[in-house]
């Protein structure tokens, strides 16, 4: 099958799920084309090396100029017929050209926002179209901007299948589907359980270490998280909380940490590589996700796969992953009292932590394993092109 994956940056350090998916599809013998706006060359070489079945196409100015030079007629036609939106029209034609040149069977927009961005080109694309609904675009932007609602509805109308990362996401987008509900399929995120596997048995650390990994954005609820750990400090517990990642909220968080006098306990560790992250999972006792909304947090799946007990908010589809009190703890969003109470329960009980961590690993192995996720995508793609 010839599959076009449309994404932002590729490969992106914070979106490993896309590079994982691409890699596994290649391994199953498919031909992959990644359309993106930026290529991380170093990471690409590390991940894909000399792999021949993948082509990365960066839709940037150099390519656009190349297109105009090789297609002067298109450029001229646009200039004459579409005086008003020359730039936009030309870009759309250029995208169409770049994608159709791959003669794709499937074109998968990895974010609905990208689908909206390419909206004008979609009707003329060859191949079946799929769009993924993963989080921000559906949870925040749709709530806030009226014109986004009509555009998303139009997008859902134009594509052949709509991928949701959770049942919660399906519920979120239903109001915009207008008769297109049948196109929706749920495919949970997943991880490589061979990669995220402990090297040694789960042991306590001193001081007890709480870990969070994500971009520093408001969605991740770090203010709630800080209010939570402040309570833990007030309870007289010695601990540290490692926050891995960077983002627009860095300044805000650094300020809160200072203002709440948590400099000793909370460490903003910055961006870490894949290997470093696996090492950090080994050094941690508990994984903590104070998010205010999520699709499904991949980092939680990784942590569970690493046998870490997880405390997380009931944001997005997290309660489709975790059964409270069995393979993790769930608390109402924004509720620092409850979160602190659950963290304390784990901090004070090593056996509970270990038991919960083991149950978490079992859950991920059974339900969130990359192979079953790729199976599902392959199935859907096959159905779309009529192979099944």
């Amino acid at each position: 099958m010839r599959i076009v994956v449309v994404t932002n940056e590729f490969p992106a350090i914070s979106e490993t799920f896309i590079s994982n998916k691409v890699m596994h599809l290649i391994r199953r013998g498919h031909r992959l084309f990644v359309i993106c706006n930026e290529k991380n060359k170093a990471l690409f070489n590390a991940l894909f090396g000399k792999e021949k079945r993948i082509e990365v196409i960066v839709l940037g100015k150099p390519k656009l100029f190349g297109y105009i030079l090789t297609h002067p007629y298109e450029g001229l036609k646009t200039l004459i017929t579409k005086r008003r939106d020359v730039k936009k029209t030309l870009f759309t034609r250029f995208c169409l050209y770049a994608i159709n040149r791959c003669s794709p069977d499937i074109i998968h927009f990895e974010f609905s926002a990208l689908g909206v961005f390419f909206l004008d080109a979609i009707p003329k694309l060859k191949g079946k179209k799929v769009v993924s609904c993963r989080g921000t675009a559906e949870k925040v932007k749709l709530m806030e901007y009226e014109d986004r609602k009509t555009k998303v509805a139009e997008l859902f109308n134009l594509v052949d299948a709509i991928h949701c990362v959770s049942e919660d996401m399906r519920q979120t987008i239903l109001p915009y589907c207008c008769g297109q509900e049948k196109k929706i399929f749920i495919n949970f995120p997943s991880i490589d359980i061979g990669l995220f596997k402990r090297k040694d048995s789960y042991q306590p650390h001193n001081p007890i270490t709480i870990l969070s990994i994500s971009r520093l954005t408001f969605q991740k609820g770090y203010l709630t998280g800080l209010l939570t750990v402040k309570k833990i400090k007030e309870a007289g517990i010695k601990f540290r909380w490692l926050i891995v990642g960077d983002g627009p909220q860095y300044e805000e968080l650094a300020f809160h940490i200072h203002e709440m006098n948590l400099q000793e306990e909370v460490i903003l560790a910055g961006i870490k590589s894949g290997n470093e992250i696996i090492e950090l999972y080994h050094q941690a006792d508990i994984y903590f996700l104070p998010s205010v909304y999520e699709g499904i947090a991949n980092a939680v799946l990784e942590a569970m796969s690493m046998e870490l007990p997880v405390v997380c908010t009931k944001s997005g589809g997290m309660d489709e992953v975790i059964v409270h009190n069995e393979d993790g703890f769930l608390a109402v969003v924004y509720n620092e009292d409850k979160l602190a109470c659950l963290l304390l329960q784990l901090i004070n009980n090593f056996q509970l932590r270990r038991k919960m961590g083991e149950a978490g690993r079992q859950k991920v192995v059974r339900h969130f394993n990359i192979n079953s996720q790729i199976d599902k995508f392959e199935d859907v793609y096959n159905q779309l092109i009529g192979m099944k």
Partner: protein, 393 residues
Amino acid sequence: MRIGIVVAEFPSYSETFFANKVIGLCERGHDVVVFRSVRNTDKILEDIYRFSNYPNLQIVTLDLRQSVSGIIKTILNYPIAWIKSFDTDLSVIKKKVFDNLCKIYFKKHACEVYHFGYSGLAISYLSLFDSLKGKTMVSCLGTAEKVKPVSELNRIDKLKMLFDKTDSIHCVSSNMAETIKKFGAPVNKMYINRPAIDTGFFSPKNEYKQREKIQILSIGRLVFQKGFLIGILAIQDLKKQFPGFTWKIVGEGPGREELFFHIHNLGLADHVELMGKKTKDDVVEIYSQSDIFFLPSVCEGIANVVLEAMAMHLPVVSSMSGGMDEAITHEVDGILVENYNRSLMTKHLYDLCNNFEKRKRLGAEAKKTIEEKFSLKRYIDVFESEYVKLTGN
């Protein structure tokens, strides 16, 4: 005296204190030159302040992001500044051109004192300090001293250099003075001048009355320093105990999307309204329709909006951020709550929602406090005497 005021945007909606100060100094017969790096062409603001009425006021724009014709003009007028700025790196050229043009503008409009409105802004002009003929003064108002030193490497060193170079340092509160002492600001250069407001303008037209539905008001840029998420969480709990209120938030800023999300995510859309930015006249009207003013900030110098609200006879529930306890005496002319303590905020809001007499009493005391301690007259007096001290006039 000829006084230079260096600011970023001028005039602006959120920094009315600069405009008030400029007008105050002009009215006392000083020549004032405002050096701004961002031109604001908002008609409404121009109509409010009517700067053209002050012949002794000059506004100089140091904005290089203006039109192409503007840039060409500077090339024709000051070719040497451009030639001097030659470099192979475009970003270096930009910085050099800016510096060289600023030097020319500062020289052309020579002042006896140059007062930089923010320490952050002063740092960006630091390389020009030696070329300035007049004395220099820097204001420390909030974020630049409270947030940046925590989040930005080298900021403390830069502040140290700045405090070393400048001749005088204006602190917005004693709390600020304590903060910058830690960064090596010399005590003999510092003085405190707390903000002030126009009590003639911010004055209630009607008596403070009981209304059917309580209206809580906050005004501030939508930035994390204002602690609106803490406020939203406090309001969420208030709603459970006392549903008969609305909370209006006036202001605009980069945090809008985030706040909008929190409000909807917590099911508070019927109780909380993001009003966007408003003009001074609208704001007075909104104050007079409100019952309680709420400031959940996590970082403040001294919040001017609280002073305005107090002048408008409103009881205030404020966090103890920055110098807020220098404006409010707890349970006398307002309520102070520990920073980040949302449950205490809920408790006090609930208490006030249920107690008209207390609201009225606090508001009346607040109005007195402002009239006695936070009038514009005192504010300009202090600046004037500090300028005189510096220049020896």
